[in-house]
């Protein structure tokens, strides 16, 4: 299985990469870690005439805190997320989520920016980004624009990223102290995509929920933000009744595609179960 022929470009800076994208036009595709794109190219699901490899652009890597925001270069790998002390301390949801992605080898190559830009609802970062209220920096010939994760994902393999733009950075507001977090993912085996998965960030005030943020993986054509469930939970205690209702509201917006992982009803039920478990686990970790 060998991809169709293409021309390879390895720019050294974001500016050069954008210039290249402009020159090469829509036949060019960005190469990040390559663990979604190259398999698609082998199967001829994708046949770009040009690959622009972002792997040599040092400015696209790294994790730092600027003010009350965590900034992650788009080419930062899953392996780097997993070994980041800053993330473990400030945004452990991202570390937990990265650990559920693929397998060790894929995590050395796979990048957070690639996972997000691919626009695959089965990828894990979109739901994590929704739960963390992240924003994305999109850099193009006219400069930068910053867009919210909520609203970025338009459809299957379709995002707000324009053909002449590059997702360069992920910005995450540092979660409030004491926030609980959890990513619960049901998969058949290592390396599989989620049958269903739910990302939760939870702030408590006393016994009641101050704020819940819930992202659903692989439950529709894009990641889904479980708005009704979030709104319902505000002010409620976490108990069986509220968990059941939040799960029901999350399931209500699911429209999963049937495949070998199960039919739509099963996947919807599993989305409810992952939502319940993620809320429980986040609640157990939250400090009021």
């Amino acid at each position: 299985m060998i991809p169709a022929a293409f021309d390879y470009h390895a720019p050294r800076s974001v500016a050069d990469a954008i210039k290249l994208l402009g020159q090469l036009g829509p036949e060019a595709k960005l190469l990040a870690g390559g663990h979604s794109l190259l398999p698609m190219m082998k199967l001829r699901f994708a046949q770009p005439a040009h690959l622009v490899d972002l792997g040599r652009i040092a400015e696209l890597r790294g994790i730092s805190q600027v003010g009350n925001e965590i900034r992650i270069g788009a080419m930062t790998t899953e392996h780097e997320l997993l070994s980041s002390k800053l993330l473990a301390e400030k945004a452990p949801l991202l570390v937990e989520g990265a650990g559920w992605i693929a397998d060790p080898q894929v995590r050395y190559k796979g990048t957070i920016g690639g996972d997000i830009s691919h626009g695959d609802p089965a990828n894990d970062h979109p739901a994590l980004m929704i739960a963390l209220d992240a924003s994305f920096v999109l850099t193009g010939p006219k400069g930068e624009r910053v867009v919210k994760a909520d609203g970025y994902f338009l459809g299957l393999y379709s995002t707000q990223l324009a053909a002449d733009e590059i997702l360069t950075q992920i910005r995450i507001p540092v979660p409030a102290a004491g926030s609980g977090w959890s990513y619960q993912k049901l998969k058949r085996k290592t390396g599989d995509f989620a049958t269903a998965a739910t990302a939760v960030m939870l702030q408590m005030k006393g016994k009641s929920v101050a704020k819940a943020a819930i992202g659903l993986t692989n439950a529709g054509p894009t990641v889904l933000k479980a708005r009704e469930a979030e709104a319902y939970l505000a002010g409620k205690e976490i108990n069986d009744a509220s968990l059941n209702e939040a799960a029901r509201l999350a399931m209500k917006i699911c429209n999963p595609t049937p495949d070998q992982r199960g039919d739509a009803d099963y996947k919807r039920a599993m989305c409810g179960e992952m939502t319940r478990r993620a809320l429980q686990a986040a609640h157990a970790r939250a400090k009021a």
């Binding site: 299985m1 293409f6 390895a10 190259l38 082998k42 693929a102 060790p104 080898q105 894929v106 050395y108």
Partner: protein, 160 residues
Amino acid sequence: MAKTQKVSFKLNGKPVEATVEARELLIYTLREKLAHTGPHIGCETSHCGACTVDLDGMSVKSCTVLTVQCEGAELTTIEGMEQGGALHALQQAFHEEHGLQCGYCTPGMITRAYRLLKENPNPSEQDIRKGIAGNLCRCTGYQNIVKAVQSAAKKLAAAR
């Protein structure tokens, strides 16, 4: 005539060069141009890990890396594990603990375990099982592979 380009990298410490099309996957360059047939082609879909090699300090599946991405890189394959005629502690341990049956997954398994032990010299059984989750073995049930990695970790620790 397809467009080709020259790629240079270090393979098991020695500088090598290959002329490839951009679409050539690293596993083919290693096996067919550079005569390194230790890394195996199993699934060719980045699932099985038989093609695992060490690339700039990362375990990667060489069926899902383009050779052109490796310009200037340092690569280690199973062929580079033995030093001065002596097996690497991992190779010795796989032998002693019966960590293989058919042997097809073994080069990838050992190359992956090599990086795992560099990053975590004293892994728990759980660390090892998680660490080799990207390598499939259809014979052993993993039990003896885990034992072999544990045994190698101990020997390497004792030698330090």
